[in-house]
């Protein structure tokens, strides 16, 4: 076989591998219920911050511990734990995307995406991301 055909076959194989890998590794936007069905697996959950006094962040006790409640699209409310300082614009957010997994009755978020009304983009929503850890 000529090297050219080997190259072409390898190229196509790697390309297909990339597609399959992406399909397999892609996460999903789910509700708390689905996330709870597969504990330990990480998902994206979209919801709204529950605006009452249930948000807990006491930096003097532990600067890496934030708790708040999130209502998903099915109106299910769960406690979300985020091991990082509180994003300053959390309370302003209109939509919150949390990335992480269910841990018992609570959701443990590794990243938070906030959509806040943007002043620099004239009323449109602006996103900012917060990660709990580097690794």
């Amino acid at each position: 076989m000529k090297p050219r055909y080997i190259i072409i076959i390898v190229l196509i194989a790697v390309g297909i591998a990339a597609i399959i890998s992406l399909y397999g590794n892609a996460s999903q936007y789910v509700t708390f219920e689905t996330a709870k069905a597969t504990p330990g697996k990480e998902f994206h959950v979209i919801g709204q911050l529950v605006r009452d006094s249930s948000l807990k962040y006491n930096p003097e006790m532990d600067p890496n511990h934030l708790e708040f409640y999130l209502k998903d699209s099915t109106q299910e409310v769960r406690k979300v734990i985020f091991n990082s300082p509180k994003p300053a614009d959390l309370e302003r957010s209109e939509k919150v995307v949390i990335i992480g997994k269910m841990d018992g009755e609570n959701f443990r978020a590794s990243s938070i995406l906030l959509k806040c009304p943007s002043k620099y983009n004239d009323g449109k929503l602006e996103e900012s991301q917060y990660n709990a850890s580097e690794s």
Binding site: G15, L22, S27, P63, H65, N121
Partner: protein, 862 residues
Amino acid sequence: MTEVLSFTGEHLWIGNLGKISVYLSFAASLFTAFVYAFATFNEPDRTFWKRLGRIGFWIHGLAVVSIFASLFVIIQQHYFEYQYAYQHSSLELPLRYMVSCFWEGQEGSFLLWMTWHVILGWILMYRTKEWEAPVMMIISLAQVMLSTMLLGIEIAGARIGSNPFILLRDAQPEIFQLPFIQIRGAENYLTGIRDGNGLNPLLQNYWMVIHPPTLFLGFAASIVPFAYAMAGLMLGKIKEWIKPALTWTLFGVMVLGTGIVMGGFWAYESLSFGGYWAWDPVENASLIPWLLLIGLSHTLIIFTKTGKALYISYILAIFGFILVLYATFLTRSGILGNTSVHAFTDLGMSGQLLLFLFFFIALPSYLALKGKKLRSVFLALLAVGTAIAMWQGYVEAVHIPLIAISLGAVFYSIYQIVPKTSQADEELGTREFWMYIGALVFVISCFQVILNTSMPVWNKLFDFDKAPPVDVVAYYNQWQLPIALIIGMMVGFGQLLKYRKTDMKKFWLQFTIVLLSSMGITLLLVILFHLRDALLVAFLLSAVFAIVGNSFYWMNTLKGKLNVAGGSVAHIGFGLMLVGIISSGSGKHVISINQSGMAFSENFDDEANREHVLLLKNQPTLLGDYEATYFGDTTIGPNTYYKVRYRGFDRKTKTYTNDEFVLQPNAQVNPKMGLVSNPDTRHYLSHDVFTHVSSVPDKESARKAPYEQFHTYEIRLGDTIHTDNGDAILTLVTPSTDKKEMGLEDADHVLMAEMKVEGAQDTLYAHPVFALQGDQSVSIPDELPDLGLRFKFTDIRTTPEDYSKTTFVFDVAVKPPVKDYIILKAIVFPYINFLWGGTIVMIIGFLMAISEKLRYSSRKNS
């Protein structure tokens, strides 16, 4: 809105000038494209059409310059009646950042891109000789596309482009409903618009002044090889376009690469995510064309040396430009919505962008197809595809046939025109073979980045609802690190091979020398970098191999000559960059690990990351090999700088080292964006200490909070009042001498008390005042806001002669004290200077290679 004919204080002339320039630039580019098309295809009258084309392009270029100048005047003069100035600037904005306002808005970005095209066009017009007509035709077509983005006119209900000169009152007529505008009357609305919205604080950074223009120059340069490739098709000069295109490709790779690294450096210096690259879609959008252009530069070199790899050169030249357009589509159409941290909103131009994208994909196929019949079939297929895509009540999947037809046509049509003898050689022992493979590896790398970044596109096309991988960075690295490893190896041994035929004995000898010395150096670096991971060690070996291989080639084969070493130097720079990526990426460690809190928090869990640490004011805390103390803050403009002193501390000997410095990460509690945190970094040759504030208490509102508890105390000198916020001792009561200062010049007796309060961090004194004026009494309370205490001296129980026996009455108000602390994250990046240094070496290499090519072509011409 009431009917008002004229508004006071508006400067309409400049906007009109701008608008006319926009229309003129559009008309002139259309005219120029047509005229240069005539010049291309009408050989007998070529001179006439070319002259006309030059005039057209000069008019177009001057119109673009006029747009640029008008917009700058509007921003610089603070004409807030214009939406662009209102939206993106403010009165307090320093001149040096005004130019950044251009690229905060989309219109300005398109304008910047157009301006670079104009400058490149002016150079090309006089330097391309026989290529002028077709090359300038393609550039003019691109200018038609870009200028429609600025038109901002409506045709048949569809808005075409977004005009940067739109007035605020037209863009946002709802301002007339605002009460403070209605009071003034609509015609005086401008007196109510005193200041603009301001520039995003993240863009107020000098890297942000130079990074976007560099990046856009790189984008703009990608059109030149494309234009030459098209010119080759139009003039039937299938091979001759390569040589002139090569110099420009090298230029494009250099500038775009510089722009990308500048963006990384900006992110590292002024964003708080702690790194230079996050695989963000917007970053990827600039990386995608760069990867292809690197591949292109190598295949073009293969062709100039051996006459091979013509097909792939065509494909890469075409897609290098197409992917710039695709990247623009991704970032400007709003489709990225869910996945990007950069917020780019939709200006309703996605249809327009798609149209141009398809136009420039279809153009090469049309030009390459031979014969009227094939071209008609192609156009018919395109029409069917478009008809399906426009189908009413559709799902997005209807675009698939059109995409398939236009992409398939590119691969087929180019294939049928390329002579079969020009296929890449299949001799394994030649340099061209491995360069060819290297170019393909870059294509794969590019493909993987496109595939992932386009997730929202796949979601739309196939009606999926997939989210990006949970850990995006790890996912990309998992693919791109092995790819970089392969590239490093090939960069290392590729230069040891010769074009066409290599003396394999000599090659293996040199290969062994290079490999062994690389292994030795790698071993030292592994110890230095504390590498543990086998894959990373292999990656490091490949990077070192690339550096050593090219150094060896430069010294041994090229005898250290400078004028031909461009390629080697660029490769050495690339290898150094890889070393920097490995050292800083693998050795990056957070030193602000929080150890407190463990005992307090009820659901503290050991697995959780504790990467942020609370620093109470004046309380030293150990962070890695440093003792960090937050000792105060200063506010300059909108920014508060938090001063943190670092002292080197040897944990083994428990002694301080001589290393001491102060970092001032700042944070802006921005009413529009929440906390905008800018890091501060201490640079050493061997490592960086990066530090940023992730949260600060709201001291201002705590100071203003109302008092919660009130008590009255009757005490004597030396007595202590116990409060929740500390013990206060009455140390002194004296008659005050400066009655006048207190506005008590008529008082008979003025007494000032001194309260000494031991707070948690320091000792503070309060001086409440009590005055008697006849039988009236006056009290001037004194406050210790940071301690949450207020003392009011309200009465004395005996005559005010002998203070030591007197009982004094104080009202003490208490509220929670204002806490002064910062929450900080600190990261050490070891040997990151390899990355920045390597980039500079690579740029120098490119400059050497470009000047080498220019020298070569001018020698040939003379």
